[in-house]
C-alpha cells in the first residue's frame, strides 16, 4: 500500500516537473524579451557621461550585443541550461554565477525565516482566534489582521527603524552584521503573511470545528487540546499549507523592497539594480531563479497535500 502510494507520488512529481519545463522556457523567453524591449541599454549606463560612439561600439561587440537578437537568445538559453548565465554587462569580468552564490543564500535565509515565523505565529494566532471566537481576544486579532494587511511594508519598515534603531537603539539601522540585523527585515517581511495565515487558519479551523466528527470527539469526552491538534488542525491544514506556499511568493517579491530599505546585499537588491542599469544577464538570472523557486515551492505544497489528507491520491 505504502509503496504504491510512493510510486504514484513519484509519478505525479515527475509529471509536475515535466510541466515546469515549458513553463520555465516560457518564463525565460518573456524575461529575455521584456528586458531587451525596455528602452535603455547597458552600454549607455556603463559609459555614463563619458558616452562615446566608438567606445560604445567596442563594448557592444565585447558583450555580443551587436549580434542578432535570436543569436543572443540562443546563447542565453544554452548557457542557462548549463546553469551558466554569463557575465554582468555592467561590471566587466563579473560572473553571474558568482553573484548568485554571494547573494542567494542571504535572500533565501531571510525568506525562510520570514515564512517560517509567519507560519508559526499565524497558525498560533489562528488557533487562538478559532478557540476563542467572538471573544475580545478574537476581535482584537481581527483588527490587527486588517491593519497588518493594509499598511504597506515600506511604512512598517520606516516606523520600526525609527523606534528600534534610532530611538531605542536596540537594533541596527541597516545592513547585515549579526543576527540582530535580521530582526527588522524579517519582521517587516513576515507581517503581512502572518496576518494572512492567521485569517486563513482561523476560518479553516472554524469550518472544521463545525463538522460532525468534531462534535462526536467532544461528546466522547476527548480533551480539548487533543481535539484541536489531532482532529481539527489536520483536517484544516490544506488551505493553511496553500497559504504558506503563497506566502513564500509574497515574501520573495516583498524582499525586492525590504532588501533596498534595509540595505541588505541579497539577490533581490542585485535584481533591482540590474533592472535599473539594464544589466540583462543579471535580470535574466535573478528573475529565472526566483521563478524556479516559486514553481518549486508550489510543487512541494501540492505534493504535501497527500500527507495531510490520505484521501488525496495522485
Amino acid at each position: 500500500m505504502a509503496s504504491r502510494f510512493a510510486a504514484s507520488l513519484a509519478r505525479y512529481a515527475l509529471y509536475r516537473i515535466g510541466l515546469t519545463l515549458p513553463l520555465l522556457l516560457g518564463a525565460a523567453l518573456l524575461i529575455f524579451f521584456a528586458g531587451r524591449l525596455a528602452p535603455g541599454d547597458p552600454v549607455a549606463i556603463r559609459l555614463g557621461d563619458h558616452y562615446d560612439e566608438k567606445a560604445a561600439l567596442a563594448i557592444k561587440k565585447q558583450l555580443g550585443l551587436d549580434q542578432p537578437i535570436w543569436a543572443q537568445f540562443v546563447r542565453y538559453i544554452t548557457g542557462a541550461v548549463r546553469g551558466d548565465f554569463g557575465e554582468s554587462f555592467i561590471s566587466p569580468g563579473r560572473r553571474i554565477s558568482g553573484i548568485v552564490r554571494q547573494t542567494l543564500p542571504l535572500s533565501l535565509r531571510l525568506t525562510v525565516l520570514a515564512v517560517g515565523s509567519a507560519a508559526v505565529l499565524g497558525l498560533t494566532l489562528g488557533i487562538i482566534g478559532s478557540i476563542s471566537v467572538r471573544s475580545a481576544w478574537d476581535r482584537a486579532l481581527q483588527v490587527l489582521v486588517v491593519v497588518a494587511l493594509s499598511v504597506p511594508n515600506f511604512v512598517v519598515a520606516a516606523l520600526l527603524v525609527l523606534v528600534f534603531a534610532l530611538w531605542l537603539r536596540t537594533l541596527p539601522v541597516a545592513g547585515i552584521s549579526g543576527w540582530q540585523s535580521y530582526v527588522l527585515p524579517v519582521v517587516v517581511l513576515a507581517i503581512a503573511p502572518t496576518a494572512y495565515i492567521t485569517r486563513i487558519s482561523r476560518t479553516s479551523m472554524l469550518q472544521v470545528m463545525a463538522e460532525d466528527y468534531v462534535r462526536t470527539a467532544r461528546s466522547k469526552g476527548l480533551a480539548r487540546p487533543r481535539i484541536i491538534f489531532r482532529h481539527v488542525l489536520r483536517n484544516a491544514a490544506l488551505p493553511i499549507v496553500t497559504t504558506v506556499g503563497l506566502a513564500f511568493g509574497y515574501t520573495l517579491t516583498g524582499s525586492f523592497i525590504v532588501e533596498v530599505i534595509f540595505n541588505i546585499p541579497g539577490m533581490a537588491r542585485v535584481g533591482v539594480e540590474g533592472i535599473l542599469q539594464r544589466d540583462y544577464t543579471v535580470i535574466q538570472a535573478v528573475v529565472l531563479i526566483y521563478t524556479s523557486l516559486f514553481i518549486f515551492v508550489n510543487l512541494v505544497v501540492d505534493l504535501s497535500y497527500a500527507l495531510f489528507n490520505p484521501r488525496i491520491r495522485y
Binding site: 535603455g40 565585447q62 566587466p92 569580468g93 527603524v161 534610532l166 545592513g175 540582530q180 535599473l276
Partner: protein, 532 residues
C-alpha cells in the same frame, strides 16, 4: 522534545539577548577607522572604465596619477615630481618620483605609465573617457582605429623619465586631463596575471590606499598604504559603506554607523535647523550646473534663435535659487561653474526679462501657435525635477506655453538623451570630472561632440573651441573658451539655471576633511584624522 514552557523560556531568552546586546554594531575598534557613505556598489575597480561615482572614488583612492589637482584646480606633483614643457608647449617631459611603488612593492617606472596610457587608448579596454583625456596625444587616432596598440606620442626615455608629445590641435588643458583618476598607473604584471576579473581583486594599484576587502553591496574596506611615498594616510582603515538610499545613509549617520554622509536636498532644511547637528553640517560648492536644453532639430520653434532667447529670458533663475532651493543653490550665469579655472564670473547670460521674452516670441511669429512641448527630466536627483517644475510654471506664466513634464526611468532617459533626436527639451545637469573648461564647452557645445544633446551648432563656437585646444598658454586658452561661452549664451544654446552645492554631515571627531567640487572621486583623504 522541548516542552511548551521550554519554548517560551527560549523565546524570552532570545528577546532579552537582543535587548541586552545593544545595536549589534561592533564596539569602537582600537585602530582608527573612517567610515564614509557610498551611493552604490562599484561597477569595476579598473580605473580606465570608471564612469560611476563608486568606481571613480575607489580608483581615486587606490591609484597613483601623474599629477593631481587640489580643490581649487591647482595642479601639483604626484607620480611625477616635476615636469618640463618644450617644443613650443607640445612636449611634456615628466621626471617620475623614483620612490613610487606599487602595492606589491615593485617600483613604478616610465614603462608602467606608458603601458597604462596605451591600454586606456585601446578601444577594447572600453574607456569612454579615452577620447577626452588622451585625444590630444600624438598617435591617439591610430590606436583608436586599431592600426597600432602603442601611442606614438608617449615615449619612455629612461625608467624615471616619461615624455608625452601632443598634437598642436589638441594640447589644451593637458595637465588637467592627464591627472584624471582614470589614468592611474597600473602594474602590468598583476593585470595580466589576474585574468578577466583582475580588477575585482583590487590589485595593481600604487595609491595611498589598498583594497583590503570588498563585500559586494555592503562596503569597501581600504587599508592605509603605510609605504605610500607621499606620506601614509593618517587613518588605518577607510570604509566606504554602500547605502543607495539617502534616508538610510542619514539614519546610519544618526546611529553612529557613519562618520561622514551627504545630506539629501529634501532633508537639508530640517538638518540645518536641528541643533543636534551643531557645526557638523558642512557646505561646499560643487562644480555642477543644472540647465535646460532646447533641441532645435526635434522641436521646430527652437530652430529660431528668437524663440530660444524668449524661453531663456522667461526663466527667473534668481527666484528659483532663492525660493525653490532656499538660497542653498546659486543662480547660474554661465554653463561652466565658477570652480573651473578661468571661468568667467562676469559672463552676461541672457537676463530674466518677461517683456523682452514676450516680444521676442511675438516677433518670431510662433506666439499662439506653438506645438505642444514636452520636457524630459533627468530622474537621477530630485533637484532636476524641482527646477523643471519651476521653469514650466514660468514659461506658462510669461509665454503662455503649456509644458508637459516627462519623467522616466534613468536608463530610458539616458539612452534617449544619447540619441539626441528624441527630447524637444530636457532638464539636465553636468558635473565636472576635471576642473577644466573642456568638460563643459567641448562636450556640451561643440557641434562635433556626441554629448551635444541640444544639437547646438555655431561655427564660431566650434572655431573658438579649436583655438582654445591649440592655444599656447592657459590664459590664452581660457580667453577663447570665455568668448565661446558668451556666444553660446547669447544664442541660448543651453539655458543655465543654477549651480549646485554639496551638504555633508561630518562627526566632530573627524579632522581634516575638505570637500571637493568634483563629481567623481574625493579630495585626498590622506589627511583625515579620527580622534574619538
Amino acid at each position: 522534545m522541548m516542552t511548551r514552557h521550554g519554548l517560551w523560556a527560549l523565546t524570552a531568552l532570545i528577546i532579552a539577548g537582543a535587548l541586552a546586546s545593544g545595536t549589534g554594531v561592533t564596539a569602537a575598534p582600537t585602530e582608527t577607522v573612517f567610515r564614509v557613505w557610498m551611493v552604490g556598489d562599484a561597477r569595476s575597480l579598473d580605473p580606465a572604465v570608471a564612469a560611476d561615482f563608486p568606481s571613480g572614488s575607489s580608483a581615486f583612492l587606490m591609484h597613483l596619477r601623474l599629477v593631481a589637482s587640489d580643490a581649487t584646480g591647482k595642479i601639483h606633483p604626484m607620480g611625477a615630481r616635476s615636469w618640463t614643457v618644450t617644443g613650443g608647449g607640445l612636449v611634456y617631459t615628466f621626471d617620475l618620483d623614483p620612490r613610487a611603488k606599487f602595492h606589491s612593492g615593485k617600483p613604478v617606472t616610465a614603462a608602467d605609465w606608458k603601458w597604462t596610457l596605451d591600454r586606456v587608448a585601446q578601444p577594447e579596454t572600453g574607456s569612454g573617457a579615452a577620447q577626452s583625456l588622451l585625444g590630444g596625444i600624438i598617435g591617439f587616432g591610430a590606436v583608436r582605429g586599431g592600426a597600432t596598440r602603442s601611442l606614438a606620442g608617449v615615449r619612455v626615455v629612461n625608467p624615471t623619465t616619461l615624455q608625452i608629445a601632443l598634437d598642436p590641435d589638441g594640447r589644451g588643458g593637458f595637465l588637467n586631463r592627464i591627472g584624471s583618476y582614470q589614468l592611474g598607473v597600473l602594474n602590468r604584471e598583476e593585470v595580466e596575471a589576474g585574468g578577466r576579473d583582475w580588477a575585482d581583486k583590487g590589485v595593481a594599484g600604487a595609491g595611498p590606499f589598498k583594497l583590503a576587502r570588498w563585500e559586494r553591496n555592503v562596503k569597501f574596506v581600504f587599508a592605509a598604504n603605510k609605504d605610500y611615498f607621499l606620506g601614509a594616510p593618517k587613518v588605518d582603515t577607510l570604509e566606504l559603506v554602500i547605502a543607495p538610499s539617502a534616508v538610510t545613509r542619514l539614519n546610519l549617520y544618526d546611529a553612529g554607523q557613519l562618520d561622514l554622509t551627504d545630506v539629501p536636498l529634501a532633508d537639508f532644511r530640517r538638518v540645518s535647523g536641528d541643533s543636534q547637528y551643531g557645526n557638523q553640517l558642512k557646505i561646499f560648492p560643487r562644480a555642477q550646473s543644472l540647465f535646460l536644453g532646447l533641441n532645435g532639430p526635434v522641436y521646430e520653434p527652437f530652430r529660431d534663435i528668437r524663440v530660444r532667447r524668449a524661453f531663456a529670458q522667461a526663466v527667473d533663475r534668481e527666484r528659483i535659487a532663492r525660493t525653490v532651493f532656499l538660497g542653498f543653490y546659486a543662480p547660474a550665469y554661465g554653463i561652466a561653474p565658477p570652480q573651473i579655472a578661468g571661468a568667467d564670473k562676469n559672463l552676461k547670460v541672457l537676463p530674466y526679462n518677461p517683456d523682452a521674452a514676450k516680444k521676442l516670441l511675438a516677433e518670431s511669429g510662433w506666439a499662439g501657435r506653438m506645438p505642444p512641448l514636452e520636457m524630459a527630466i533627468n530622474p537621477a536627483a530630485p533637484d532636476y525635477q524641482m527646477v523643471a517644475e519651476a521653469v514650466a510654471a514660468m514659461w506658462k506664466e510669461t509665454l503662455g506655453i503649456d509644458v508637459r513634464l516627462q519623467r522616466q526611468e534613468f536608463a530610458a532617459y539616458r539612452a534617449a538623451l544619447n540619441r539626441r533626436n528624441v527630447f524637444p527639451s530636457f532638464m539636465q545637469g553636468w558635473t565636472a570630472t576635471l576642473l577644466d573648461f573642456s568638460i563643459y564647452l567641448d562636450q556640451l557645445l561643440d557641434s562635433r561632440s556626441g554629448l551635444n544633446f541640444a544639437n547646438y551648432k555655431n561655427a564660431d563656437v566650434d572655431k573658438l573651441i579649436d583655438q582654445a585646444n591649440s592655444a599656447r598658454s592657459e590664459s590664452e586658452r581660457e580667453g577663447f573658451y570665455r568668448q565661446a561661452e558668451q556666444i553660446a549664451m547669447n544664442d541660448a544654446a543651453l539655458v543655465p539655471v543654477v549651480f549646485t552645492r554639496w551638504a555633508v554631515l561630518v562627526k566632530p571627531y573627524v579632522r581634516g576633511f575638505e570637500g571637493s567640487p568634483l563629481s567623481l572621486g574625493w579630495t585626498d583623504l590622506n589627511g583625515i584624522e579620527v580622534r574619538r
